[in-house]
């Protein structure tokens, strides 16, 4: 159907209504009533794994520094059967424990005694073994690659899953630089800065519950969609999916956290509220502690996608805006541009560094897992 200008205008009117109008909002200057303890990390029950608990503090909204670490605290993991494991303090609020594997069937809690003498305890939590991920699947839709994950628990008792993923992709800079300037002379480039790898981590909380299903099966849970034009799919792309089994309480915590911090902006938003987790101060309920302590394993699965597996995807990432010029030797030495190659006698093809150096957007060290 052809769009007449008239229907087009009406459609825009509707679009306006549906999408509304979103402006940035700066909240009034609010000083936080207090700085609260934030607990990150979990007790990894995989044999031989190292558990790291990171302690930090909440910050004012306008604070641009990285969070203050809580140091010199006594951090222990205690079992209901009175076993106590003390974590060793590392740098900047990280406390770690290795060589201890939690026992299935036992419950554990985290106990933190800060240098100021305040005790914080988590609830006792069970050891959850995350079932292996069956597969990470993908398909193309329009010019996007859509990723989803499949898993199941043959014992039918996991029910609550949390997902994270890491994306790594191989890419090249627009121009291959054969030469570099070293000690004011033009020499062959010793290091390959054309081919790099970049990694990003998922930031959204992603959860699945199979509570309402007759079998503990997660089928085609959508993780993300990668546009062909993102520059990630040009050579080879890899996704590592991690799965964490959760208790019902853990699921509820992350679900709430997701609802009030990421899925907002609709007409029917839920009311935000204070969400703290399963830890509390032992003698002052007004002193909040944020985070959710859990014990269990992580399941992971990695997949790779080569460019030739995506025949219908247009991976052109757009014009990077590289200007190539021809400089004489003296000009090259004077202005120190990125040199692509020799171009005739005493002339060099030059450009700006981001056009030859992939390290602006990644690292040129091949990751160990790269196939």
């Amino acid at each position: 159907m052809r769009n007449t200008p008239h229907t087009y205008w009406l459609s825009w009117a509707l679009l306006l209504l549906v999408s509304g109008c979103i402006d940035p909002y700066r909240p009034p200057e609010v000083a936080a009533p207090a700085s609260y303890l934030v607990v990150n990390g979990f007790f990894d029950s995989a044999p031989g794994a190292t558990t790291t608990i990171q302690l930090s503090h909440t910050q004012n909204l306008t604070d641009t520094k990285s969070p203050t670490a809580e140091t010199k605290a006594l951090v222990t993991i205690e079992s209901q059967n009175k076993a106590v494991y003390t974590l060793k303090e590392g740098t900047s609020g990280a406390y770690s424990l290795s060589g201890v594997t939690p026992l299935a069937g036992e419950t554990y809690r985290l106990h933190i005694k800060t240098s100021k003498g305040t005790d914080y305890y988590s609830d006792y939590v069970p050891v959850l073994t995350t079932p292996a991920i069956d597969s990470v699947s993908w398909h193309t839709e329009a010019n996007n690659v859509l990723f989803s994950v499949n898993t199941h628990d043959p014992k039918n008792n996991t029910h609550y899953y949390r997902w994270e993923f890491e994306e790594t992709w191989e890419f090249t800079a627009p121009y291959y630089s054969q030469l570099e300037i070293r000690n004011n002379t033009i020499v062959d480039r010793s290091e390959n800065i054309n081919r790099c790898w970049n990694t990003t981590y998922s930031t959204n909380i992603m959860l699945t519950s199979t509570e309402r299903l007759s079998q503990d099966i997660v089928s085609q849970f959508p993780l993300t969609s990668v546009p062909g034009t993102s520059g990630k799919l040009g050579i080879k792309y890899s996704m590592l999916v991690k799965s964490y089994a959760l208790t019902q309480a853990g699921f509820a915590y992350y679900d709430q956290l997701a609802k009030i911090t990421q899925n907002l902006g609709s007409i029917f938003d839920p009311q935000p509220s204070q969400i703290t987790g399963n830890m509390r101060a032992s003698n002052n309920p007004g002193d909040l502690v944020l985070g959710f302590f859990r014990v269990g394993t992580v399941a992971a699965k990695r997949i790779f996608i080569r460019r030739d597996q995506l025949p219908n995807i247009n991976t052109y990432a757009g014009d990077p805006g590289c200007v190539v010029d021809t400089f004489s030797v003296s000009k090259v030495l004077k202005e120190q541009p990125a040199i692509i190659s020799l171009f005739g006698e005493n002339q060099y093809l030059v450009t700006s560094f981001p056009c030859v150096d992939c390290r602006y957007k990644g690292v040129n060290k091949r990751p160990s897992f790269w196939e």
Binding site: A13, L16, D23, A32, V38, S56, Q59, G265
Partner: protein, 923 residues
């Protein structure tokens, strides 16, 4: 005129009068006789037989005139004087004993004094003036001049009082006229027609000039002689010539003389003149402009009346409850403007016949179909189209009105090139049918059917659908002039349906439903002129399906989950009396007693006493059989109002009322959302009880064109529900563990100035109001804000609204609206922290901050077609701009974690001026 001619004439007159003087003595012989129930011509024959008088008249003019009198020895002049007094007829007797009977105009049998002097008559001569101006005066409607005799004729008229009753109708369509004032001026006594157009007034027997006024209708009057109880139906004409745009319909001094306070009556004309965002006249938007009514946001048709929650309004559509009053995410209200006659909102002093909700009653009445001829109307707006047809089924007896409204937004969404909108759908329709059947003078039957349906899917694989269904059958029976009754049976149903089928393993269907059946009998009794009594009984049966979750398709692994049905029976009896102690003082006292039973079959969890209810504190499960009463609640609801007239233009009113509510909506979003569920009171969730004290001061200017009022109220609410952080409301088998028992208080003062008539009309209101909540119960699952008072989501203390309309001429009028209010309370983040590498927010205590203030200006132009009475279709255009200044009024403020950053946004629903054009027609 030559002097000679003048003299001749004079002589002729002199001779004539001399002869007359002679024969007059003969003719003045008194007559006697019983002239009961005689046609006028028979009466004339008998007079002519007894006397030398000869009568001249147009038989057509007097064929409906019945003579009913008895005379003893009275001269003919006196008899005629008595006979025609107060009627439209006039008589004149000339010198030859010729009697001329004329309707409406007086015949002069002699020339005016001073005629021959050639100048104007000295001194007032009303008969002459009447003559001279006759040509330009419009001819009076026949019924106004006629004298109606009410009841069985007696002579003399017995002393005492009798009751006159009947219907006030629109003469063109036969529709009842609601809220018409029917009164006599001396002594001042009056009443108002009810929703059926029915009125009943008790007056001293004798002659009266009964006046009938209703805004938008031509004022009319009836001359009556009240002998005993009787019936008089009154037809009123539309005020087509004046084309008055009326703002609030009620009789002009109702706010002074009426007992009701906190009541607003809005008719369709004022609804149509208020500009709306999408061009279509919208009842609920107009209601939201009234003082004391607030809403959380622009896309919400939810009403917060004097601090009440959106579920605390009883929204009645011809007596059937509407559970979801919104269409298309709340951009439209569920009422088709062509079907509505009027709506009445009770904010305080709720009459005792209403019950079941805490804050207000919105009583929406549909029009009755045209009883005389088939007509239609409709309109095309930015997103919707509508068509209404009405007409007689049996002329003057049975009529129908049927309306349909739908949107073509679905089609528009398909036109959008964007892929995300291609997957979106949004549509709605509603259907209305209303049939009125007047079986006879005493019995009228009404049927109303209503169906509304909404469907939407916004760029996701989940589709939503919800539906309101109502049916009402009403039988009005008039026992006698002093007593009538209305028997009503109604059904209201609300269902919603959510389904997802993109992933076959997780495909599901979720349904929720409410079925409500109600029977009630209401009686109105007018024992004396000072008392108006109403009493009645009602019973409502609720059946809720709180959630039914089913797999969809064969591959689905969804385990069916059905939250067991809930049943409840709410019954009430009430009695109210309005007692006019003196013209200055009246009191209305009502008592409603409501009973509620939560009925089996149901399994009820027992929790450990004194500790918060949670799954871990369940001690036992008690199973109740079908129809067994699980728990019952009951209590009185007082409805008392008092009026004291300070002067004829000022009064003071006081009221107290208590209301009880046994069904509540559960929602943890700030606006009404389609997936909100309703919950009956049960052993754990106690009914809500509200008390409201109100005082008001009312003042009109001398001619009742400007009304001023101040009303203040204080209100308490018990057992309101609030929610635990992260409450799960859908498919929750033990909802009591997720709700928090809260108490509320609200207070405010409302100032209103209204100008009802004239070229410039409208109203200006200012409200200061607070609504605060508190969760102090120690057994609550969560104590919100440490148990201190916190503002509710719709606590917007300052509110100024101006609704203005200026009529440039009869075809062209302009409207301007202005609204300002304090921003609503929100919960803001106070600090941030990093969890799993990503920043997250820690929020403040609930509702401690506010979004920026809200103000908006709207503008509309109404253009009527020409006013030829006979043409194919009458049409009008409404051109409106909503949010004329394009201010980005924030609807909500939210923060999102995006990547490694937290970004704050404000969402404005209508961030630009929204122009719209609506074409309305009627044929």
């Amino acid at each position: 005129m030559t002097p000679l001619y003048r003299i001749t004439l004079l002589w002729l007159l002199l001779i004539g009068s001399g002869g007359a003087a002679l024969s007059q003595t003969l003719a003045d012989k008194p007559i006697s006789g019983d002239f009961s129930n005689l046609r006028f011509d028979t009466f004339v024959e008998r007079i002519e037989a007894q006397t030398p008088y000869r009568f001249f008249y147009n038989p057509a003019e007097v064929d409906s005139f019945l003579v009913d009198m008895r005379v003893e020895n009275k001269p003919v002049r006196t008899v005629l004087q008595q006979l025609f007094n107060g009627s439209k007829y006039n008589y004149a007797i000339d010198a030859q004993q010729r009697v001329y009977i004329t309707a409406n105009r007086v015949i002069r049998t002699d020339l005016p004094i001073g005629f021959f002097r050639g100048g104007a008559p000295s001194g007032p001569d009303t008969t002459l003036n009447a003559y001279l101006t006759q040509g330009s005066r419009k001819v009076q409607a026949e019924p106004e001049a006629k004298t109606y005799e009410i009841g069985k004729r007696t002579n003399p008229i017995r002393p005492g009082r009798s009751t006159l009753a009947g219907f006030v109708r629109n003469v063109a369509s036969g529709e009842p006229v609601v809220g018409a004032a029917v009164y006599i001026e001396n002594p001042r006594q009056g009443t108002v027609s009810d929703q059926f157009g029915y009125y009943s007034i008790t007056l001293p027997r004798g002659r009266h000039d009964l006046k009938i006024r209703s805004i938008g209708m031509k004022d009319t009057r009836r001359r009556i002689i009240l002998y005993s109880d009787g019936k008089l139906d009154i037809d009123m004409e539309d005020d087509v010539i004046a084309l008055k745009e009326v703002v609030i319909e009620a009789e002009k001094d109702k706010n002074i003389s009426g007992l009701q306070m906190g009541q607003e009556r809005i008719d369709i004309k004022s609804i149509k003149q208020v500009p709306t965002a999408l061009g279509e006249a919208d009842l609920l938007r107009v209601i939201q402009t009234l003082p004391g009514v607030k809403t959380v946001g622009e896309s919400s048709t939810g009403l917060n009346v004097r601090g009440g929650a959106t579920d605390q309004n009883l929204i009645l559509y011809n007596d059937a409850t509407i559970y979801n009053s919104s269409h298309l995410f709340g951009f439209f209200s569920a009422f088709n403007p062509d079907m509505i006659k009027s709506a009445e909102l009770y904010k305080s002093a709720i009459p005792s016949r209403f019950g079941g909700r805490l804050a207000s009653v919105l009583d929406v009445q549909t029009r009755d179909g045209n009883k005389k001829k088939f007509v239609g109307s409709g309109g095309i707006g930015l997103l919707t189209g509508r068509l209404t047809l009405e007409g007689p089924i049996f002329k003057d007896k049975t009529s129908f009105i049927a309306g349909v409204r739908s949107t073509y937004s679905d089609w528009l969404l398909r036109q959008l090139q964007s892929a995300s909108f291609q997957n979106s759908k949004a549509s709605f329709y509603d259907l209305n049918l209303h049939v009125t059947h007047e079986a006879n003078e005493k019995n009228t039957v009404y049927f109303t059917g209503y169906l509304s349906n909404d469907k939407f899917r916004l760029n996701s694989d989940t589709s939503y659908q919800y539906q309101n269904k109502t049916a009402t059958l009403k039988w009005k029976h008039i026992f006698n002039n002093k007593l009538y009754s209305v028997f009503t049976g109604s059904y209201s149903g609300y269902t919603y349906h959510v389904s997802s089928d993109k992933n076959p393993v997780n495909a599901y269907d979720l349904t929720f439903g409410i079925n409500q059946s109600q029977v009630k009998a209401d009686f109105n009794f007018f024992p004396t002129n000072q008392h108006t009594v109403d009493f009645g009984i009602s019973s409502t049966y609720y059946k809720l399906s709180p959630g039914n979750f089913q797999p969809k398709g064969e591959k689905s692994l969804i385990v069916p989950d059905v939250v067991p049905d809930e049943q409840g029976l709410e019954s009430a009896i009430y009695l109210g009396d309005r007692f006019d102690i003196s013209p200055k003082l009246s009191i209305s006292a009502g008592l409603r007693y409501s009973f509620y039973n939560y009925l089996g079959p149901h399994a009820v969890y027992q929790y450990a006493p004194g500790v918060p209810k949670s799954e871990n504190t369940i001690l036992d499960t008690l199973n109740y059989g079908s129809g067994k009463s699980i728990t019952s609640y009951h209590g009185p609801e007082y409805r008392i109002a008092l009026r004291y007239g300070l002067s004829s233009t000022a009064s003071i009113k006081l009221s107290f009322n208590r209301t009880r509510q046994y069904i509540q909506m559960l929602s943890n979003t700030t606006v009404i959302s389609p997936t909100d569920i309703w919950k009956l009171s049960d052993p754990h969730i106690k009914p809500q009880v509200g008390d409201q004290y109100a005082i008001g001061l009312y003042k009109n200017n001398r001619i009742n064109t400007i009304e001023m009022s101040v009303e203040a109220y204080y209100k308490t609410m018990q057992n309101r529900l609030d929610y635990r952080s992260g409450a799960e409301l859908i498919l929750n088998h033990h909802i009591e563990t997720d709700v928090v028992n809260a108490e509320g208080k609200a207070y405010g003062i409302e100032f209103l100035v209204k100008k009802l008539t004239g070229k410039l009309n409208g109203w200006l209101s200012y409200t200061y109001a607070r609504t605060l909540l508190r969760t102090a119960d120690a057994t609550n699952n969560e104590i919100i804000n440490k148990g201190s008072w916190y503002p509710s989501n719709y606590d917007k203390p300052h509110d100024v609204t101006l609704v203005g309309n200026y009529k440039i001429n009869r075809r062209f009028s302009l409207s301007l609206n202005f609204t300002y209010s304090t921003g609503r309370p929100i919960t803001l983040p106070v600090s941030k922290y990093v969890l799993d590498g990503v920043p997250r927010l820690l929020y403040s205590e609930r509702n401690q901050y506010r979004i920026p203030d809200y103000y908006r200006t709207d503008f509309a132009m109404n253009i009527e077609g020409n006013h030829k009475v006979k043409k194919l279709a009458h049409s009008s255009w409404t051109i409106a701009v909503y949010n004329l200044l394009g201010r980005h009024n924030p609807y909500s403020v939210y923060f999102k974690t995006e990547g490694y950053r937290i970004n704050g946004y404000q969402l404005s629903i209508f961030g630009q001026p929204i122009p719209s054009v609506t074409y309305n027609f009627r044929f």
